[in-house]
Amino acid sequence: MNAILLIDFGSTYTKVTAVDTESEEILGTASSYTTIETDINDGLNNALKLLFEKTGSIEFAERYACSSAAGGLRMVTSGFVKNLTAEASRLASLGAGAKVVGVYSYELTEDDIVEIDASRPDIILLTGGTDGGNTECILKNAKMISTLKTDCPVVVAGNRAAAKECASILSQNGREVHVEKNVMPRFSELCIEPAQNAIREIFLKRIVKAKGLSEASELISGIIMPTPSAVQQAMVLLADGTENEQGIGELVAVDLGGATTDVYSVAEGFPQNSSTVLKGLPEPRVKRTVEGDIGMRYSIHGIADAATIKAVSQLAQCSEERCIEMIDYLSEHTDEVPTTEEFKNLDRALASLAIEMAVKRHAGTVEQVYTPMGLAFAQEGKDLSAVHNLVATGGALIHSDCAKEIAAFAQAKANDPASLRPKEAKVLVDEKYILAAMGLLSEHYPEVALRIMKKELV
């Protein structure tokens, strides 16, 4: 036996997963409620106690952890044109597992600087201009950022012609600065990985320590990534496989949480036919979006706002007034697990609509354009209609007895042909809630992690 412990320090739960890499089995999972005030080790020890009650004592050979505790990795991004470098930097930060607390385009103003200070970022990503393109904006923004009160590090990933000057402006007051390759070296060409690697490096070196997570480090071999990165890594592995073990192919994954809903896609998303023209910024093959207004408890009102209370009431088969009452109740009682039929129906309706909204925002759209030469199609974002796998995870979903039916709401609808969501996808439910753990495991045992996922996602 070669037992490995995988830990996910969340903001409300510490989750542990024990895996034996020799038999390629999950030995057990457990989670313990934690708060911001609790010592991080208490949460971990409690979770371990619960785990050992199920499995008996285990000697772990290795321990790895990911974390979204203490607000996760908070990032502010700044770019030049809103639809171009500002969007590229937002995509880069989300893909690095960050919680993006501010996206700024064009020149930063003094008010913006006050706002950024108030949003307490852990890292700022500064971009702007293609290589050889505009330099004025990024230089001005570097000067503005250097006036921030917060001493957070800055990753500069903009026009290379201005990178060095930006770095010297920013480092004047001793601020940590990392210069990386431009997120958009040429027009509409994304290059986000170097910036993402820098973000991850800073996360490991600085953020983990600053958030008191290193106190747990005696116990573990290291907190190696933010939780969303771990989930994303697991999804890439599941889709693409390894040299010796095939993946399941392109996929979309939804993580329905209490406060936010994350959607991942590992797919090219190119137009499906030759009469379609791709408009706007090309999106990365591995794309993550976060819907901050869609979640099953803290953001429960956002679901009703986005989907309309009428849709909720129809799906829950319950009057609008009663739905509003119950939604208000659940938003106050965020740890409530529904027991009555009425609440269960409501939760099911909300979860279905949340998934529909979140995947709709993630997927691209296609528009019919009538031209003098006939009908043409313009696509924006990714075409996911041919993706055949849909992975569903998140507490609100996996504890439901009809997770597959709920997750199926992510699929394309006949009355909404403009949305390029998967047409016919097989739903795979992460019943044991192991995706983040498998992402961690994949750092050193990718094939074991892949085989366990293929077995456990049903």
Binding site: V81, G129, T130, G132, F187, K279, Y370, A376
Partner: protein, 137 residues
């Protein structure tokens, strides 16, 4: 010397995809740094691309006769977006039907285009004009 930067594309709901590729290669071979936006390009897309790449000129193609509608206001929007005095060219079958080119040229110049090229203009002519206007050797 640093290459002069051009943004090119076919404006409006026009899907003529071949000519713009030929222009891309011709301009690139002539020593320009070219950003090709392809077909069905909106005014905003030209402007955003020109801003981000710090372009020296925007070259608008139109083949389907509706160029006059599509091009209106482009100069004003450029000014508004901070692209003060950027070089603007337009060319192709830019108006409906057969009209005397001198009149067409005047109308597009009044819209703020620096140069207007009629149907069948060889790329060499545009390249020569660009080199003159952008003061390339």
């Amino acid at each position: 010397m640093e290459k002069k930067k051009l943004v090119i594309g076919v404006i409006g709901a026009d899907v003529h995809a071949v000519g713009i590729k030929i222009l891309y290669h011709a301009f690139t071979d002539a020593g320009f740094d070219v950003t090709n936006l392809g077909v069905m390009v909106s005014q905003e897309e030209y402007i955003e691309a020109a801003l981000e790449t710090n372009a020296d000129a925007i070259i608008v193609s139109s083949l389907y006769g509706h160029g006059e509608l599509d091009c209106r206001g482009l100069r004003d929007k450029c000014e508004e977006a901070g692209l003060k005095g950027i070089l603007l060219y337009v060319g192709g079958n830019i108006v409906v039907g057969k009209q005397p080119f001198e009149e067409v040229k005047k109308r597009f110049e009044a819209m703020g285009f620096d140069r207007v090229f009629g149907p069948g203009t060889p790329p060499e002519e545009t390249i020569a004009a660009l080199k003159e206007d952008l003061k390339v050797d």
